[in-house]
Symmetry: C2
Subunit: 435 residues, 2 copies
């Protein structure tokens, strides 16, 4: 009896932009692909802030991985948590003890927020990385308004109506704009004992401008657009304390500012997945301060030609001035590169390319009809940039089954300023006011 020739097994850890794109790029390769994720869905993270502010439902921006890969016969999906990787035995371990052998491994486990050594702040100031984060933040923001309605004093009401967002990168800017729109437009007329438009939205950023990776004039525009949305900017200052009822901000001149606030949201700092630390121990690979794994020009770990690290978890420094940023397009291009290299090797073809990031531009949105975009050195701002932002995101989201509905829902929300998904569903946030 002839045993059928075994096809090489490619294991991909993580179904985010990088991992999913790697799996899809392997669809014509003569390999068996196993995608492992702790979650059953791919998440379109750039729109997560819209879930956190009640404009979209989780299912609008999260698609089941099985549905996305249903027709890719050489791919299977496993719901599981990777707890160990043995790069010499070429084997990974799942939480429940299952062992999975691989011929090639692509680690795309992503990142979470860094609290700069203050992990105790996490429950007080949640970050925005998962669907659960988004619905929890939505519950907190809406509950703050509920608590303001039931406040026993004006001080308490002011506190519940103060929202501090830490971090002025794209996520922080989007959150600040959306919370402000929620207060000024969506919730108008919803309360009897205060005007929601009196809410105070504060954005704290350590650099002297918002959106620090962008060109200065785009940052300036974004800052002005935020101020028009009545967002209060505190620039060049650092948060030194987060408590249940206030935030302390330290200014460079040494002054300390206490902001009483019922809601603090975290949009600062990036911390690589814990799998990064594990990989560094097992392979001796270098890491940077945020835990990213240094990869070679082929996106592989030094000494392990079949071990790829891509996306937010990868530290790629070859031929670039700055390490590549943690952005979806970087992850997607890296996923495609790793897949092509694996496919070429499987087919016995030479593959002498090294990875080079094709930067097609970066952009961030601030609110309705306002955005900034830097595309191949050209700077855009205002409604045109917003239109570009919208089109690019719509194009990217077309992989979702119900894209037409998302488009309609989105158009509807933008026209009516409707945020109908204003649900408080987490028990722990459905609280009585702290008095």
């Amino acid at each position: 009896m002839d045993e059928p020739k075994r096809r090489p097994r490619v294991v991909v850890i993580g179904g985010g932009f990088g991992g999913l794109h790697a799996v899809r790029s392997l669809r014509k390769a003569a390999v068996d692909v196993t995608l492992i994720d702790r979650r059953n869905h791919h998440l379109f993270q750039p729109l997560l802030y819209q879930v956190a502010t009640g404009a979209l439902s989780p299912a609008n921006i999260a698609a089941p991985l099985r549905g996305l890969l249903r027709k890719q016969a050489n791919a299977e999906v496993l719901l599981g948590e990777v707890v160990d990787i043995d790069p010499r035995a070429k084997q990974i371990s799942l939480r429940d003890g299952d062992l999975i052998d691989y011929d090639s491994l692509i680690v795309a486990a992503g990142s979470s927020h860094s609290y700069f050594g203050h992990d105790e702040w996490e429950p007080l100031a949640p970050g925005l990385k998962t669907i659960e984060n988004a619905t929890a933040i939505r519950g907190r923001v809406l509950t703050a308004f509920e608590n303001a309605e039931r406040a026993k004093s004006e001080d308490e009401r002011r506190r519940w109506l103060t929202f501090v967002i830490v971090g002025g990168g794209p996520t922080g800017v989007e959150m600040a704009g959306a919370v402000s729109e929620l207060a000024h437009a969506t919730l108008r007329g919803n309360f009897r004992r205060f005007d929601p438009a009196t809410a105070r939205v504060v954005l704290v950023e350590g650099h002297d401008r918002v959106l620090p990776p962008f060109a200065a004039k785009l940052s300036e525009y974004a800052g002005k657009a935020l101020e028009k949305l009545q967002v209060e900017l505190i620039l060049g200052a650092h948060v030194s304390q987060v408590a249940a009822d206030h935030v302390q901000v330290n200014h460079p001149d040494g002054t300390e500012q206490i902001i009483p606030a019922g809601t603090v949201l975290w949009a600062a700092g990036v911390q690589a997945s814990p799998l990064g630390k594990l990989l560094a121990e097992k392979t001796g690979a270098a890491t940077d301060r945020s835990g990213r794994i240094a990869v070679g020009p082929h996106l592989t770990v030094d000494g392990f030609d079949d071990l790829y690290v891509i996306g937010d978890l990868a530290l790629f420094t070859h031929g670039v001035e700055q390490p590549l940023p943690a952005l979806a397009p970087v992850a997607m291009q890296q996923g495609e590169f790793a897949a092509r290299r694996i496919q070429s090797q499987t087919e016995g073809r030479a593959f002498d390319k090294t990875f080079a990031y094709d930067d097609r531009g970066t952009m961030a949105t601030i609110g309705r009809f306002k955005a900034v975009a830097d595309i191949k050195g050209m700077k855009f701002r205002g409604p045109f940039a917003w239109l570009v932002w919208l089109l690019v995101h719509l194009m990217l989201i077309v992989q979702f089954e119900n894209r037409l509905l998302i488009l309609l829902q989105w158009a509807w929300n933008y026209c009516t300023r409707n945020r109908s998904a204003r649900l408080i569903t987490d028990y722990e946030h459905r609280v009585e006011p702290k008095s």
Copy 2:
């Protein structure tokens, strides 16, 4: 200084069909209305099973109470939990110690599932009453399929692919039909190690037919329709044990049947809100076995002419053969009746009517294009009944802000058999298989 004449305060507990309808019916009354709910949203419960099976998102069937009452100037909404009612002092207490005085009180606190003295079954066999229930059930059902993909033996796989639904009333029938459609249509091609169509969906009902409140020939049709959907019916039998990995069913002939099952869903029995017990203690009102409060012909509690109990919590027996059932139309008509009586009294007009339920019919849906309806004695079944069911539910849901989108989403789902909201989001259900 003249003190302005104080308007009477009407407090409504519960923002379900009865409570919300009462508040809206008071919109032209010279009263101040306070609606108190533990949740910030009104829930369109008849479609909750569609959330539990991934066809709709929570926000499609839950609307923020504040949004619904935004334009009703004499109404305010408070998010809070009622812990005490003093019908003599006409005062209620909230969890955080707040006291609220009322002139008239409408208690519409609803009901939850009864486990017939086996409350320990609740975590093993969740009921379907809240958004959290629905997303938890969705997570369990989807995780069962995930676990089947990773099962280590055929026995284990069979167990994960067996779904037992306890209770053959409308909710049980709808859930059974929807889980079966999920397995046979939606998940087709999603798994590599088994065919989801091999899933076993079992419906257990104590009566000798499903939908026992309906006419026998409608029950018979519903039973046949379920069998066509490959749902296995166990009739005239009772569940005597629920465990993490099986259900025990006792047949009237004394035989015991063990069904190994990874997922058990509860759709049997009704238990009135705990506020019923409290009210009975405070007023001496009679209750029935499920804890409902006996009300007089004006829906008030004997001896307390300003204390109304409506909806699932009320036991109304005047001029009817059977106590009125726990249905949305009963609750809505009762809410309207209480509101009219209060308004008349406020305006000093005589109000000599007593409550009479106008039964416009009952209906239940079984799956796509299949339903039964009993309308003023006329019995309908099949696609026509389903169309009636669809139209009635669409009409009822038009109070929602985004009704157009719900309609589109629904039409889309029915045409494509799409269930795009297949998200597992509860951490506790995102588990590794039990081996």
